[in-house]
């Protein structure tokens, strides 16, 4: 069985969701060992299972005018925003072959992000009980996952471009009053999505040799 990386480029949330479903089925059926789907999304606000309406701060008509869709999803967590300035990764794993442990998997995703950011010279960290990755007190990457038959889908979003952060002001990300930051904001220079993508995919491939290492 092989592991595959799929780069969908800039894609709308619904199309990526359908693609995830296809790949999810292949991993579930044992056709693929695991997969990493990477992409960026057109502006969209997604609602996790625990979302509260008051965490969207503007009315739906305004969002429509701004061409920002609002989509309910089956991932965990509250409300978040995705846009072209983020790198999104949807790892599809069968945890039966790794470790049937949701916390282990969430921490493994955080570790992957922290390692990627370290290659850019960014010291990022976990904050206990606040899933995600942080630079000082600001959030640089978000995580929201779903698990069915111990196969994972949904995943992580790393804020890369600074100009895309503005749209987070439309919501209370994860239902909290937090400040979002980005790779560009921390480094105070331009960084392309592709640069982060290259590092992420390389680390992913490295980790395939010994998957437990990412924990």
């Amino acid at each position: 069985m092989e592991s595959k990386i799929f780069d969908l480029g800039l894609v709308d949330f619904a199309s990526a969701r359908r693609f995830q479903q296809e790949i999810f089925q292949q991993v579930k059926d044992g056709i693929l060992k695991s997969a990493l789907i990477i992409c960026s999304h057109y502006p969209v606000i997604t609602l996790g299972r625990n979302y509260k309406e008051q965490n969207i701060k503007v009315n739906l008509q305004k969002l429509k005018k701004m061409n920002i869709k609002v989509v309910k999803t089956e991932r965990g967590g509250d409300v978040t925003y995705h846009g072209p300035g983020q790198l999104i990764a949807y790892p599809i794993f069968n945890l039966v072959y790794l470790k049937k442990d949701i916390h282990w998997y969430l921490r493994a995703l955080e570790k992957l992000i922290i390692d990627v950011l370290a290659e850019f010279g960014i010291f990022a960290r976990r904050i206990p009980r606040l899933t995600g990755v942080w630079v000082k007190e600001d959030k640089i990457a978000s995580i929201g996952i779903a698990i069915k038959n111990w196969v994972t889908f949904h995943g992580l979003a790393i804020n890369v471009k600074e100009d895309d952060l503005f749209n987070f002001s439309l919501i209370r990300p994860c239902g909290m009053d937090i400040i979002m930051t980005s790779v560009e904001s921390v480094l105070k220079k331009r960084v392309s999505i592709d640069e982060v993508k290259l590092v992420l995919t390389r680390r992913w491939q490295d980790d395939q040799g010994n998957l437990t290492r990412i924990g």
Partner: protein, 78 residues
């Protein structure tokens, strides 16, 4: 009669919250079909049915918090 028990979900996870039941009381369910979705931390988790039969009793409703090892429901096998 089979008890549907909330299994171990990971180290340090003591409870989970019911998001919704895919199957209602009195309905038939097949083994491995989706039975109930739970949330914990930033994850949702689908618990498949441990057997085929009729879901006769549900002990926890949407929004309820359940401890690991607790009985969620009863399925009468056919």
């Amino acid at each position: 009669m089979t008890k549907v028990i909330l299994p171990e979900l990971g180290e340090g996870i003591e409870q989970a919250t019911i998001s919704f039941w895919f199957v209602q009381e009195g309905q038939r369910v097949n083994e491995k079909d989706d039975l109930v979705e739970l949330t914990t931390d930033k994850a949702t988790f689908n618990l498949p049915s441990p057997c085929s039969g009729v879901l006769t009793q549900i002990f926890f409703r949407e929004g309820d918090t359940v401890n690991i090892g607790e009985v969620l429901a009863i399925i009468e096998e056919e």
